[in-house]
Amino acid sequence: MLSEIPSGKTVKIRRHHAAGATRQRLLDLGFSPETEVTVVRRAPLGDPMQCKVATCDITLRRAEAALIEVDLPVS
């Protein structure tokens, strides 16, 4: 799950477990399957997190990141 990936790692999205508005929003912002996502950082309190998809920085909460299944980082 994306929420468990440490900051600085890049992973590839496998699929979503979100539904409805959350799913739509994630897809709109570029979190579609087969896309590479880099976890940039987490807020000082550990939540939310900032990710980079294509050239965009997106913030999402741990709860939403936990709905995105990703392949483990190569390294």
Partner: protein, 829 residues
């Protein structure tokens, strides 16, 4: 209909919709196109802003509507539904799609949806400068060819591309279907073509593009499904058909059809980007990334956050207050100007028109006095918003806010509402519009009024200076922070109960790149917010101040009492006459009308001298002024060495002093006798438990109009000793010492005042933002009940435990902080 036609029918302006994603620079483009001619209203039935503006191009008028910024055009959120309905139902003559060149792929998914809706489209490729700095090179003509619509590179903030867009809009008007590229939906394409052909026969196809309807049906869009089922004939057929297409696909591909459709669009966008965009200097960090590495650093971030908040506080509240020293004399001059136009003051009782009008002016001035503070505060907030740091604050604080049912974006309304000391709940409640999560938005609206707005401060200062002289800064710190804790607790309570069933939205948003704010952008927002504030003062507050004035003035004092006061005044006048009997002025001052004129002049002169302070230059200026306006009488105001004039002057002083104290006595008796006074007294048996006497009750009641008036009311009620030039603090102190009013009383009153319902203007704004009178009523009743309970707890509890005011304050603070921390760590049910 082409432009040539529209020239012949000037009566109907062209309608252009401005669509795009959030942070694509839609508003700057809107400003660039329409300039100052803007108008903000709501879309019918919802609380989404509809900004309309217009411009002239080649002789025809063009109306531009700024649609809400959304990431896509599905029907999941209110904004999306509003934007989509506008495009489909109002059928604009052209749509300008503002695209963020620095986030092209994401933006193009939106463009593709617009093309699917067969809109006459112009693409404004905005933020070309940002893209350039990121090393992103976009081949505009290739993009133009690929999309099949006009693409205009623009830099909205520098107003580049304005004429080109207007030109392109004029050309695209009237073009409809068939333009632009068509998305290939791969495995679903065959099914979509069949169903689209079938839907093209239905009457719906006259209003909506058949292919768009089909794709939406397959995607399972609730709104379109409803639209189809509202049709009589083959509605069921189309629905069932879409169902089959979806099911077949999902069985064969093992993938959700809706995801696949979105995927097709984003793959198309990616392919276009791959064809038209070259990224140079890959791997080089952008400026935004470098700033964020410092500003959002785990350890440095809290420091920057606190520093930002501190700077806002220092510049707007502290420096802004300094500025009011220069601003207030201007307002005072306005008041003097109006006072001169009104009928003259009477000896004891003023003409009703005069007292009413001056009451209104004073109420308005009390609020207008804060304008310098708001200009600075709103400028700084607008700079924070436009620069992109506000989004980072939301990112940093979201975890805390979320734990209490609020949202990272609740930060802005709280800052505007006055997190520590100073702000106004009206623009604060207004700013909740930006919060995408309905439940958090409601909770924010209902808790912003707990913040310490500027108008609460004078009341705190007054009580603190009387009762907590040794602990001033501690008490101010207590008041400014406890309100935040209580707001958080209330938000948690409301979201867990009343607001539980409200729609929530994911916290997934794009973090904007940093921009240098523009003067125009910031200036416009500042003027807009300040104007809201002035409008509040000009309309609601003035209107209600008249009501409060009436409630304080009626019923009038009984004739017997007035006869007594008049008798005392007559005695004073007789004494005056006998004192000056031997002077050369005796004859002319025997005429009552002339005497009144002289006494009023004397009072005006004293007031002017008092406000001039010790500055010799100001005193000289005032003397010159009065001397030239009243050459004959000035000698009585400033007698010099002439003994007759000195004698009159000293008699005048005695007369004026007697008149002043009588007028005060009447005023106090009048307030005590008025409707509001009776209510205040009637409530005393209940409010006694919270330590409020009837005078405080009246102040609280009248402060509902606008908090400012509470200090004025208290000023009237605690007025013994004003003749000796003692200030309100001293007067209140000495009177209350005798009546047994302790710091514990004061604490209860201050905390009640902190929690007390929002002023009338704010409750009206709450009605606008929640769209319901019930919530408005709730926003008044709940804080009253809460504030009263807490005040009872402080006063009755504190008395029972034998605590002093400052001890009780520490106890309460400890309790609230512990409760807040406990709530933070409690998992939500």
């Amino acid at each position: 209909m082409g432009l040539a036609n529209s020239l012949n029918t000037p009566s109907r302006p062209l309608l252009v919709g401005l669509a795009g994603q959030q942070n694509a620079g839609k508003s700057t483009c809107f400003n660039m196109l329409t300039g100052a001619s803007q108008h903000v209203a709501n879309y019918p039935g919802v609380t989404v802003d509809k900004k309309t503006g217009s411009y002239r191009h080649q002789g025809s008028r063009v109306t531009v509507v700024d649609l809400p910024g959304t990431y896509s055009l599905s029907s999941f959120s209110l904004e999306e539904r509003v934007a989509r309905d506008f495009l489909l139902l109002e059928k604009p003559d052209a749509v300008v799609n503002v695209v963020d060149a620095s986030a092209l792929q994401r933006s193009l998914s939106f463009t593709v949806q617009l093309l699917e809706m067969e809109m006459p489209l112009v693409v404004a490729l905005n933020m070309m400068d940002v893209a350039g700095r990121q090393g992103v090179d976009i081949d505009v003509s290739a993009l133009n060819k690929r999309l099949g619509v006009e693409v205009i590179p623009t830099v909205g903030r520098k107003r580049q591309g304005k004429e080109e867009i207007k030109q392109a809009v004029a050309q695209v008007v009237g073009r409809t279907a068939g333009q632009g590229l068509r998305i290939d939906y791969g495995h679903l394409e065959a099914g979509i073509v069949v169903l689209a052909a079938q839907l093209a026969q239905s009457p719906l196809a006259k209003r909506y593009p058949a292919r768009w309807l089909t794709v939406r049906l397959v995607e399972g869009d609730a709104q379109v499904e409803e639209l189809i089922s509202a049709q009589e004939d083959d509605a069921g057929g189309a629905l069932a058909c879409a169902q089959t297409i979806r099911a077949d696909f999902e069985r064969s591909q093992g993938l959700s059809a809706a995801d696949y459709l979105v995927g097709c669009r984003s793959r198309l966008a990616a392919a276009i980007v791959a064809d038209c965009v070259r990224v140079a200097q890959q791997g080089k960090r952008t400026l935004t990334e470098r700033i964020d590495r410092v500003v959002l650093n785990r350890f440095a971030a809290p420091f920057f956050l606190v520093a930002t908040v501190f700077i806002i506080y220092q510049l707007s509240i502290v420096q802004g207050y300094e500025l009011t020293q220069y601003w207030w004399p201007i307002l005072a001059r306005g008041r003097a100007f109006i006072a001169a136009l009104l009928p003259d003051a009477g000896l004891l009782v003023d003409p009703p028109l005069r007292s009413m009008a001056l009451w209104m002016v004073d109420s308005a001035n009390g609020l207008l006095n804060y304008i310098p503070v708001f200009l600075i505060l709103f400028s700084l907030v607008a700079i924070l918003e436009d620069s992109g740091y506000m989004a980072r604050i939301a990112f940093l604080l979201d975890k805390i806010f979320h734990a209490f049912g609020l949202h990272g974006q609740s930060t802005l309304p709280f800052i505007l509402g006055g997190v520590f000391a100073g702000g106004c709940a009206v623009p604060g409640v207004m700013a909740t519009k930006g919060i995408p999560d309905e439940r958090s938005r409601m909770a924010t609206i209902l808790t912003v009024p707990y913040m310490n707005c500027l108008a609460k401060i004078p009341f705190y200062t007054l009580l603190v200076n009387v009762f907590f002289v040794e602990h001033k800064s501690w008490v101010m710190f207590f008041l400014s922070t406890i309100t935040i804790f209580i707001a958080l607790l209330v938000a948690r309570l409301l979201t867990a109960t009343l607001l539980r069933s409200r729609e929530t939205a994911p916290f997934v948003m794009a973090m904007p790149t940093y921009h240098a704010p523009t003067f125009f952008g910031v200036g416009q927002r500042v003027l807009e917010r300040t104007w809201q504030y002035i409008k509040k003062v000009g309309t609601i507050v003035v209107a209600v101040s008249v009501c409060v004035f009436t409630l304080l003035q009626f019923p009038r004092l009984s004739d017997e009492r007035m006869v007594a006061y008049n008798g005392q005044m007559a005695a004073a006048v007789t004494a005056f006459s006998s004192k000056i009997g031997t002077t050369r002025f005796a004859e002319q001052l025997h005429d009552p009308l002339h005497l009144l004129k002289v006494v009023n002049l004397y009072a005006d002169y004293k007031t002017a001298r008092f406000s001039a302070g010790n500055s010799a230059a100001a005193v000289r200026a005032i003397d010159a002024n009065f001397a030239s306006a009243n050459p004959d009488l000035f000698i009585l105001l400033k007698p010099g060495k002439e003994s007759d004039a000195r004698q009159v002057n000293s008699a005048l002083r005695a007369l004026e002093s007697k008149r002043k104290s009588l007028r005060r006595a009447i005023k106090e008796a009048q307030i005590g006798n008025s409707v509001l006074g009776m209510v205040g007294r009637a409530l005393e048996p209940v409010t006694r438990w919270a330590g409020f006497n009837w005078k405080i009750n009246i102040a609280i009641l009248s402060s509902f109009v606008a908090r400012e008036s509470s200090v004025a009311t208290i000023g009237v009620l605690y007025q013994q000793g004003a003749d000796e030039n003692r200030n309100l603090e001293q007067r209140m102190g000495s009177e209350t010492e005798n009546s047994g009013f302790t710091p514990l009383h004061a604490l209860a009153v201050m905390v009640f005042f902190a929690l007390y319902p929002p002023c009338l203007a704010t409750t009206i704004m709450i009605k606008v933002q929640t769209g319901s009178s019930k919530w408005m009523l709730f926003s008044m009743l709940f804080p009253t009940a809460l504030g009263f309970l807490v005040a009872i707890g402080i006063f009755t509890g504190g008395s029972a435990l034998g605590l002093t005011g400052i001890q009780m304050m520490a106890l309460l603070y400890g309790l609230v902080v512990c409760l807040t921390i406990a709530t933070y760590f409690t998992k939500k049910a």
